[in-house]
Subunit: 409 residues, 2 copies
């Protein structure tokens, strides 16, 4: 048996993620930040709320006026007025006094708590009974209690979520710097491949990888740029690779799963400007014949041609590099879905096996991961699957009931 | 204690999801289907692959020619030619014969398996030794083995993923019908609220809910339409609600958390065309004062004004309605993330408590859910949180170590 290439351990490939530099940044207005990766920390420029606010409908009081109050022994308070929403109360609330207030209203001087309307009875226009004691600060958000001026609230490198837009709005931050979405060039190779729109002749099949990879790139928050199909024409492959590397932050070449095509791809990659072949085979299955070249600072991947292998390699190997390129910090990546395996899985030692799984729900609400078995060329297995699990290279397999981490597609 | 409204059990509210009709459909080309909800099943119009293909580099053979082959006793085969990629082989492979083939190549007549190049030795130009027996079908995908003509491969009501685009491409389906993305009108109310761009005066705070809800709507795959701020002006609120209900598939009104504003909202909702108030308070916390009105077939929600409550109600209550409106079937919704609770949680009986949690990783790779406690008005708690867990109304709480289902924000 002759070795075709010197394979690299998956962990050594993934360690190269650290070398990747994130894209530069651009300003984006509030309303177009969802899913974008923050390039600068968000810091509170002021206190939020800027004043003490009621969090319940009721009566603004000095908490001490209610101490000891109970159903049997209510506190009797003098109602001296009503605070309208958006109004700045100037009259202070003294001991034994109360002012009617709505949720969100500004606390008057002298008040440090709100007695809920549900715990009070109105006796007449100016008198209430309060049945429960309130503590200082109860049903109130104090000035600066939510966000404190100068505090860093969201670290750079996080993908912005809806609540982060809310935070920005609350601080009056209507523009932030986010990382530019990486552009990823996609090239399909292989003489037997025709475009999806074409009717394949005998011996031909349609290009699947361009479409799967483009959507995987979109799903990662990046922008795919399609360079179409290249047949077994080395000069053309070199030219397209060079153009794609020049125009994008990363390039994915799929196909070339046949030995001849793989050699072509390696040759084309080796001749890119300032090129180094970093990886020529990885200890994974499927996806062993994956190639990683570096042209200057840009990464160019040679992915397997099998549609399922290409997708597995993208998810398990390329995605961490793309996330880093997008500016995401390691901590900011979404956790996998934890599930329980529904059957034993055997695995060969010496490589990481990626197994497609379908998620289901167990009787007790537990999430189950059911392995989808099948030849790696079958698209069906990908469509049936929700994600991938890894069977580590140092284990002989996993057992039914084992907890597994599922990376969703 | 006087009841403010007749609250509805959460499960009864969620049962109303069944009444929601999905949006109509529109055709979309391959390349713009990611995340869209399929409105028609995808059916194979042809067999995939259309011919038997090699899945390894090697030699196309009749499997029987290799039966019994081993290192000690190899099979000697006559190499009669080489199949190029995309070529239709016409010459048959007879017993004792082999043709060189690459991964993806079309099997010649007479061949039903591929002997891997790793398990063969080339003796001369026309002779090889094969060291291992191959079974019929081994290293081959047969015609129609992946996708079978007439078979339904993706059911309507599923959100399209990258692999689904791959499936479409493999079948030459370059256009599918997907549900129109629902439009959701967003209105913020409250006299104390100013736009995010404005500098709040004393007693005023910035509008947060418009921005949080707009991004939550986007995250759900729908299109937000912002109608801005409405103060305590009933006529204007009625007019804006009517316009938003006319122009959108669903409307979210936030704010009105004060009793007066809530009354305003209910009044405005009650006067929409063909209006019914369906829900006036839900047995949940936070979010009890949620209102659901129906104007014709359109749902109009009155959400609490507290920024965290509005977000919780959207995630736990509104989102299932929006998913249904988007055309998603119940089975097609993403499963929650399962995690283990890091501390005991007390809960009041008689209501479903939603608790914000931050996800973390335990020593053994297990996902941990750490409750974020804090007043429901605090934006900070939302920014710290990754999702929500529900503490059921019939339990008194959850214990440290309990498995919990986390709905991610």
């Amino acid at each position: 048996m002759k070795p075709f290439f010197q394979v690299t351990d998956l962990k050594d490939v993934l360690a190269m993620v650290e070398e990747v530099l994130p894209t530069d940044s651009e300003p984006k207005p509030l309303g177009s930040t969802l899913g974008r990766v923050l390039a600068e920390p968000i810091t509170a420029q002021e206190d939020v709320p800027p004043f003490a606010r009621a969090t319940m409908d009721g009566f603004a009081v000095a908490a001490a006026s209610t101490f000891g109050a109970s159903e049997a022994n209510p506190a009797y308070l003098n109602v001296t007025g009503r605070i309208a929403m958006g109004e700045v109360p100037v009259k202070a609330v003294g001991p034994g006094e109360a002012m009617k207030i709505s949720t969100g209203g500004m606390l008057p001087p002298g008040a440090d708590a709100v007695a809920m309307v549900e715990h009070a009875a109105i006796l007449d226009d100016t008198t209430i009974e309060v049945y429960r004691s309130v503590a200082p600060g109860q049903h109130v958000i104090c000035a600066g209690e939510d966000l404190c001026r100068g505090e860093t609230l969201i670290a750079a490198g996080r993908r912005l979520r809806p609540q982060d837009a809310g935070l920005m709005a609350s601080l009056g931050i209507t523009r932030v710097r986010v990382h530019r979405r990486p552009r990823v060039g996609i090239i399909s190779t292989g003489d037997e491949i025709v475009p999806a729109e074409a009717k394949p002749g005998p011996g031909q099949i349609r290009d699947v990888n361009t479409h799967t990879l483009a959507d995987l790139v979109r799903q990662a928050g990046a922008i795919p740029a399609k360079y179409g199909l290249v047949g077994d024409d080395l000069q053309r492959l070199k030219a397209v690779c060079r153009q794609a590397a020049a125009e994008n932050d990363m390039v994915l070449i799929s196909g070339g799963s046949s030995l001849g095509m793989r050699d072509f791809t390696v040759e084309a990659l080796a001749e890119l400007p300032d090129s180094r072949i970093r990886v020529h085979g990885i200890t994974i299955s499927p996806g062993k014949p994956t190639i990683l070249a570096q042209s200057g600072a840009k990464l160019v991947w040679g992915l397997p041609g099998h549609v399922t292998s290409a997708m597995v390699v993208f998810t398990a190997v390329v995605r961490p590099f793309l996330d880093r390129l997008s500016g995401l910090t390691a901590e900011a990546r979404r956790p996998p879905v934890m599930a329980r395996l529904t059957r034993n899985l055997e695995s060969a030692a010496g490589r990481v096996d990626f197994v497609r799984v379908r998620l289901g729900q167990g009787a007790d609400g537990e999430i189950l991961a059911e392995p989808i078995l099948g030849k790696s060329g079958l698209i069906r297995t990908m469509v049936q699957a929700d994600g991938l699990i890894a069977v580590d290279m140092n284990t002989e397999g996993l057992e039914k009931g084992d907890p597994v981490a599922v990376a969703l597609f």
